[in-house]
């Protein structure tokens, strides 16, 4: 009941947030440029051509009608046509989605798998060499520009040592398309060559993207574990002689993870922000690279579409985190 009420409450909040996000992208794309159509048509357009475009794109109508049309269009999945690719933006984004999701998923997987145990060890052995080393690593992770880290990785592993591919998502055509996720598809059709290639291409982008996320996870896990270790219930569990492996990996970890889970939204923010520049450096054909290409080509309808889709994705991730938090922390009241 408690969880159901929480889900309904958050769902109700989702709608106005999404509408608000649409209003913001609409405002940016329709109001800020002095004359969006002139911008659109290019420098050599005649006044007649501009007027024709104005009517065609509905810019002759009052602003609130334009907003309504925009909202109705977006609700129906119509994000407009890309000037550059001449295809519907929604289709473009959809075809790029699996690449970004594969990369993001790998980064989440890697940063959690490594970050949580490291955070626990840093807390257990606080002020040890390991703890100091991890502190330097996490402080660096939050201060390094991911596009620079990406270039450093390329320089070292791809150019100097030549043990990983420089960029791209795969050599050759890739596995037969089923889901669009190369790792999954090559497993499904047993295409081992593609699997190996897809995997080796994933290594550097994943590491780059995962580094700041991992730093955040280590930091929060460490703080959470330390808080728990100093609590009365751990003192009680110790006094009652429960084995320390049970105390740490069962009782302390669950408490610490509640704090870390609330940061997953933050981590996804880091990953989405990182994906834009990391995909640009590694020529990774995902949403981020699409956005960068759109920037290069002044394709700003496409950029608004990208903003809206990633924004909506981020909002939904936060919604899920909220609900997850409500489920794993019994103290959350409805």
């Amino acid at each position: 009941m408690r969880v159901l009420a929480l889900i309904i409450n958050r769902m109700l909040w989702l709608v106005p947030t999404l509408v608000g996000l649409m209003v913001i992208t609409f405002t940016i794309s329709h109001i800020i440029p002095a004359d969006p159509i002139a911008f659109f048509a290019g420098e050599n357009a005649t006044p007649e051509q501009i007027e024709a475009l104005r009517v065609r794109y509905g810019f002759d109508k009052p602003l609130y009608i334009q907003l309504m049309n925009y909202l109705i269009g977006v609700t129906n999945g119509d994000l407009g046509i890309s000037i550059y690719t001449q295809r519907p933006i929604s289709e473009d984004l959809l075809s790029r989605l699996p690449a970004t999701m594969e990369l993001t998923f790998m980064a989440v997987f890697f940063s959690t798998l490594v970050g949580i145990p490291l955070g626990v060890f840093a807390a257990i052995y606080r002020n040890s060499f390991l703890d100091h080393f991890l502190r330097i690593l996490t402080v660096s992770g939050l201060a390094i520009a991911s596009f620079w880290l990406a270039i450093l990785f390329q320089l070292l592993f791809a150019m100097e040592l030549q043990i990983t591919p420089l960029q791209g998502r795969i050599d050759g055509w890739g596995p037969e398309k089923i889901t669009g996720f190369f790792i999954l598809d090559s497993l499904l059709v047993a295409d081992w060559e593609s699997l190996q290639s897809a995997f080796s291409h994933l290594i550097l982008p994943t590491l780059t993207l995962a580094f700041p996320a991992m730093a955040t996870i280590v930091r929060f896990t460490r703080a959470g574990v330390l808080d728990a270790i100093n609590s009365n219930y751990v003192l009680y569990e110790q006094a009652m002689g429960l084995p320390s492996k049970v105390i740490i990996w069962k009782y302390v970890l669950r408490n610490a993870l509640i704090g870390t889970v609330t940061q997953i939204g933050l981590i996804f923010g880091i990953l989405i922000a990182g994906a834009v520049v990391v995909e640009a450096v590694f020529d990774w054909p995902g949403l981020g690279l699409y956005a960068v290409e759109a920037i290069m080509n002044s394709d700003y309808n496409a950029i608004m579409g990208f903003t809206l889709v990633t924004g909506a994705f981020f909002i939904i991730v936060n919604l899920i985190v909220d609900i997850l938090h409500g489920i794993i922390d019994p103290r959350t009241q409805d």
Binding site: N232, Y236, A239, M240, G241, L242, V246, R331
Partner: protein, 337 residues
């Protein structure tokens, strides 16, 4: 010491390193409990009673506290010389259990009460079993454990015991939580329960019930209880014997009757005098509790003691037995009536 003691602490020294220097929190403490005896450890906050309790359980903070001297003999074995591994397996949570001061924060907030009790049962049950890494017990064992837990919860007078096991700690009341803590302390059929101010955090109306329950269960099962408190009234109600501590030193130990009837140590006298009496006159103790970083020499009470003389500051008085069940450490004991 006499062979019949269950627990006997001799000349225990514990110091804490702090930012401002080393604090000698326990300064050569002697203390003992006989099997089945309920002993109150009484003193003001900061007198070292919690440190003494934690020394016995071996849960002093590792990076700041240090046991510098003395012995803790439990069941004919010096705990301080035992392997940590053996203490964890056979003593802590098995033969010696713990009832914490604050039942609110001593439950893990994100696990159900049932999970926490069943885990204790799994690891600390008096019937020995071998377990894997996380101790997956067989189903028949779990059922046996579960039945035992249910029975125990009924003996501590909890209603709807199966319902309580499914609840989270924040969903039950403070009094019920402390009853649960007492039940958990009895799970492993221990010889000694260390109850560290078990009623301080509770409502006054509930305190008496909990104390009565603790005493009754300890008596029925012949379990000894070390009961720390700053509440002399509570000590009077449930204890067989009372030991008083002042600033890390024990000063007097006597049966409840002798203690409340014929206190001998000047500090005990003033402690009893600071209780509101029928005459309505409330006497305070002049001076302040000393800092433990550079404590007064000799008997640490001497700067505040009306009976003190020069030798009190020079050397701490030796243990002195005016009668078989009455111990004091004072050069100038009083004979009060």
């Amino acid at each position: 010491m006499m062979a019949e003691e269950l627990l006997s602490i001799e000349n225990l020294h514990v110091s804490f390193s702090t930012e401002n220097g080393v604090a000698e929190v326990l300064d050569g403490v002697n203390f003992s409990i006989k099997p089945g005896e309920i002993v109150g450890l009484v003193g003001e906050s900061g007198c070292g009673k919690t440190t003494l309790a934690r020394s016995i359980l071996g849960i002093l903070p590792k990076n700041s506290a240090q046991i510098t001297d003395g012995s803790i003999i439990f069941n004919h074995q010096n705990i301080l010389k035992m392997q940590e591994h053996d203490i964890a397996r056979n003593i802590r949570g098995r033969l010696i259990t713990f009832v914490p001061q604050d039942p609110f924060s001593s439950f893990n907030p994100v696990f159900t009460i049932g999970t926490q009790i069943m885990d204790l049962m799994k690891w600390k049950s008096s019937e020995k079993e071998s377990h894997g890494f996380f101790g997956r017990a067989r189903k028949s064992e779990r059922d046996k454990h579960y039945q035992k837990v249910l029975k125990l919860l009924q003996t501590v007078q909890l209603p709807d015991v199966e319902g309580i096991l499914r609840k989270y700690p924040h969903e039950v009341s403070g009094g019920q939580r402390q009853r649960l803590m007492i039940a958990m302390a009895l799970l492993s059929e221990p010889r000694l329960i260390i109850a560290d101010e078990p009623t301080t955090a509770l409502d006054v109306t509930i305190q008496a019930q909990i104390l009565k329950l603790l005493r009754q269960l300890a008596r029925e099962r012949n379990v000894a209880v070390l009961f720390t408190t700053h509440d002399l009234g509570a000590a009077y109600e449930i204890c067989d014997r009372v030991t008083v501590m002042y600033a890390g030193q024990e000063v007097e130990s006597a049966t409840v009757d002798a203690f409340f009837g014929k206190p001998r140590h000047p500090y005990t006298k003033s402690l009893l005098g600071s209780l509101p009496s029928k005459s309505g006159k409330l006497e305070g103790i002049p001076g302040q509790i000393p800092a433990l970083i550079n404590p007064p020499s000799g008997c640490r009470f001497h700067p505040r003691c009306e009976a003190a003389s020069t030798n009190c500051a020079e050397e701490r008085p030796q243990v002195h037995w005016p009668s078989a069940d009455h111990m004091i450490r004072c050069y100038y004991p009083r004979t009060y009536d």
